[in-house]
Assembly symmetry: C2
Homo-oligomer: 556 residues x 2
């Protein structure tokens, strides 16, 4: 039987997209594999495709059907696209969760928030510590990234060692967390690496990445040169950057105030994990009001233009009694994630109207990426010398470019988008099955399937508006007049009867001339009303609304 054992990799999210990472590894005879799951991430909805949705996460149906064979969940780091679905999906995936300490603090909070048992989160140390689960021995390999204690995974299996990088960059001095350690990686690679499953985010960035530590001087100079108040934003979980920004504030003679709950939470977790014993002193918001604005620096949330974050609130006026004025400086120590350009632009323009100087990352002086660039990826390929490379964490174009990069160096590779089950056990990766994958939407309190039609109906309403018609019938005759309620449709010209009046008149006329037999049949009544509403709306306002017909029949 062991002859037929296979070692498989199956992305359920995060391959063919940037977001909602979820990867399954399996070992055993086909159909009897034991599994471990890596990361349980979310992706964020947009008005464009998912209006009203709160969060998007991978559909876990495939795992749920095989839950008795799932050994554990491993979380590589605490970014939302890797951990954000934990509380929402844990009810369906009740197995032990392994993390490092900082990630564990975030994971526990998420579990508690959703009424899950936070004791299921088990914190383990970094490599060479390993946890043995069925056919797997798994350890956390420290990597540098834009959040503390980010880790890759070393997954030992009977068919060899897999290195799953997680999100990473090569940073010899990341300020917080472990530095790039090529010696450690060479040590891990020593016995041979069967497969390197590798971050692809920055494969299109042609120049080697820069260190987090290179920013402090630039930021300090900016803050020293600024005359008014300085407000800086970055990603709340980038604790190293928070430290750099706060230190620059202090070094430029400013009192530093941290605003925004997400940042405070992250600093709390970092403190708990013993990562920031040397964080610069900060002052309380209540003390800030007595400090001259030229001596003040605020560290705020909202680097992506989020409407409710501190950055946006300050752009609209006062926030907690503070306000921006002409001559102040606002620093985006962050990049704008594609899709957020308009939201960020809105804030920049508001500040421009106020006379606030806005500094962004265009110069490259105030932000570095958390992902390995193309030359860094090549360096990592060279260190691990894997038998095969599977690109992950990228849109299809990133996966393709990363795969081509590896193959150009003689490393076997394959593009495996969500649902492509790859056999990692041979000399080359091979797609052995294609699994139906999907997305779950958190919509209010409910998790719904992306194809349930709920969001589609909302999008139709947003594009076309709606008309609801209520009718009363008795003895197969219409009683009284119809009622047409119009939702989100433009009005008729002002010298014309209103759309509602016209709809009601035309529906009544249509039903008035109908035979009794038609009025006896709900389907036919509905069709006649739909036809009438469509015609009237097309004629008068040029739109084709969503129509619902409510037929009430009076029964003696």
């Amino acid at each position: 039987m062991s002859k037929t054992n296979r070692l498989i990799f199956l992305p359920l999210g995060g391959a063919g997209e940037i977001g909602m990472n979820m990867y399954l590894y399996g070992y055993g005879p086909a159909g009897k594999e034991r599994y471990i799951l890596v990361d349980v991430g979310v992706t964020f909805p947009t008005m464009d495709g998912t209006p009203g949705v709160d969060l998007i996460m991978p559909d876990t149906a495939y795992i749920e059907a095989r839950l008795d064979r799932l050994e554990a969940i491993f979380i590589t780091h605490a970014h939302e696209d890797h951990i954000g679905a934990l509380g929402h999906l844990y009810g369906r995936l009740d197995v032990p969760i392994y993390t490092r300490k900082f990630t564990g603090a975030v994971a526990r909070a998420k579990m508690e928030e959703h009424g899950q048992n936070s004791d299921r989160v088990e914190v383990i140390g970094k490599w060479p510590e390993q946890v043995e689960l069925g056919p797997f021995k798994v350890g956390f390999m420290p990597v540098a990234h834009s959040i503390p204690e980010a880790s890759g995974l070393v997954i030992d299996t009977p068919k060899g060692r897999i290195v799953h990088t997680g999100d990473f960059k090569l940073d010899p001095d990341p300020i917080v967390g472990e530095a790039y350690n090529p010696e450690l990686y060479r040590e891990i690679a020593k016995g041979g690496v069967q497969a390197l499953v590798c971050d692809s985010t920055n494969v299109f960035s042609p120049i080697a990445g820069r260190s987090e530590s290179g920013l402090g001087d630039n930021i300090t100079k900016l803050m020293k040169d600024a005359t008014g108040m300085v407000v800086a934003t970055t990603f709340a979980s980038n604790v190293a950057r928070l430290k750099t920004l706060a230190q620059a504030g202090v070094d430029s003679g400013r009192s530093v105030v941290v605003l925004g709950r997400a940042m405070k939470k992250m600093l709390g977790y970092a403190n708990f994990a013993g990562l920031i014993d040397s964080f610069p002193p900060v002052v309380d918001i209540e003390d800030a009001r007595d400090i001259p604005r030229g001596s003040l620096m605020l560290l705020v949330t909202g680097s992506q233009g989020e409407r409710r974050a501190a950055s946006a609130q300050l752009a609209n006026g006062k926030y907690l009694g503070l306000e921006m004025r002409e001559g102040d400086t606002f620093l985006f120590s962050s990049k704008t994630i594609p899709g957020n350009e308009i939201g960020v632009g809105r804030i920049v323009n508001s500040y421009s109207e106020m006379g606030v100087k806005v500094v962004d990352d265009n110069s490259g002086d105030y932000h570095v990426s958390g992902h390995a660039n193309r030359p860094d990826l090549e360096e990592i390929h060279g260190i691990f010398k894997p038998k095969m490379l599977i690109p992950m964490h990228g849109e299809h174009r990133h996966l393709r470019a990363h795969s081509e990069l590896a193959e150009a160096k003689g490393i076997a590779s394959i593009i495996a988008a969500n649902g492509a089950m790859v056999d990692l056990g041979g000399d080359k990766p091979k797609i052995v099955e294609n699994i139906q994958t999907g997305r779950l939407y958190l919509d209010g309190k409910r998790l719904i399937g992306a194809f349930d039609g709920v969001v589609l109906e909302r999008m139709r309403l947003a594009m076309r508006g709606g008309v609801v018609v209520s009718l009363l019938l008795e003895d197969n005759q219409q009683i009284g007049e119809s009622w047409a309620e119009v939702l989100g449709l433009p009005e008729t010209e002002s010298n014309q009867p209103s759309l509602q009046e016209t709809l009601e008149r035309e529906i009544d006329a249509e039903l008035g001339k109908a035979k009794r037999g038609l009025l006896a049949d709900d389907d036919q009544v509905e069709k006649a009303v739909l036809r009438t509403v469509s015609r009237v709306c097309k004629d008068l306002v040029g739109k084709k609304p969503v129509v619902k017909v409510l037929i009430n029949r009076l029964v003696e």
Copy 2:
């Protein structure tokens, strides 16, 4: 009375935003000015803020109220953000329209499309030709841009000469249309320029712009090196680029096919205006099928990821019998306009899945901008040496940066966003009034105000879903059961009664225990139903829908 004459500039669109350009110039005693209107543009809706809307344009209420004093409309060039609202708004603005020949062809087509009299479009020649209208003498000053015959305006008034640049760049060899001609501009500037009203789009681009003519060699090389079929896209109205792309196709030994109606139309107008007598030969789509794909080049619409354009259709499968295959090349000879990143990314990823090589403008080898960069703006300031500079065509941050650029060189300047009326007659620009401006939405056939609430209601429906409740009352008692129609809301858990059932039961219970007095009052019935629906939806699905209540009363 002439003592009190003033020269004013009033942006109604295009200042504080990029899009829907519309600028009013006036001369005369306050309240009795004679006007000319420059450009009648649109901006494009987004699912984010204007779902279902077809086009957005400036509200012309201010001009309509003063129509007897409007002399004429001038259109600087045929880009949609300068001409796109002409057909829609002309019914409200019936005055002569002046354009150059190519723009005139586009303007006439737009007028005819909307049943307007296309004879109102009067084509005039370029500078030094001038048309005299009341206190104004206006001429079209040729500029290079990304569309043929783009022009600035030289507006002579009793208070001096205004140069309104329109959209422009400095291109000594723009392939189609007039080259940058500093001698001509110096000639125009000779008698002094009172005000330069100037394009601000690229004020953040620090390096001088490059010429359209620098692209041909790069594009030809790319097409020669490509083995399969080559498909290239750019903005349909960029006739120079169409020519460069087609020429590169021919020079690389390919037969060129033009697909996409917008491109064909633009080539037709250019032909009519006598601008492209030397356009490379193209073949018909029906002949293309017999040509080996390695010898074929398609020129297609859809550089911004538009879902219905040829680029997107080819990304989804066949288009007019043609399809992309592994090894083919797709060239974006265009930049992605902010906000369109996700749509363009969708196409790039689809091509990646097919194995099509995608080349974009990241290298700068295959696209140049149509707008003047910062050093080019400084060059133009230096040539015209205006008494004052008014930045236009930019978001607030662009206007601010452009204004600061001018002031640093000693040119008086002011930031005038939409609605700010500027007196241009003195030594410095001065805001003398603030006018209420707004936007009109083309929604189906109707032009509605942005604040009419129609689109807001649709956005609410998209975010929250809806519930419509129909009730029947007789003699102040409920007859039968209520009917709750649910729109775009998630369902309850599968082992629970449906949301609709629960809503109906709870509404009936609520009304069942109500006093007769309450049931006699429609407002109170509605309030009771709203309260019940909100509570049930919040409890069961965690959303707060838009609710409509239809109360039918039976009257004997």
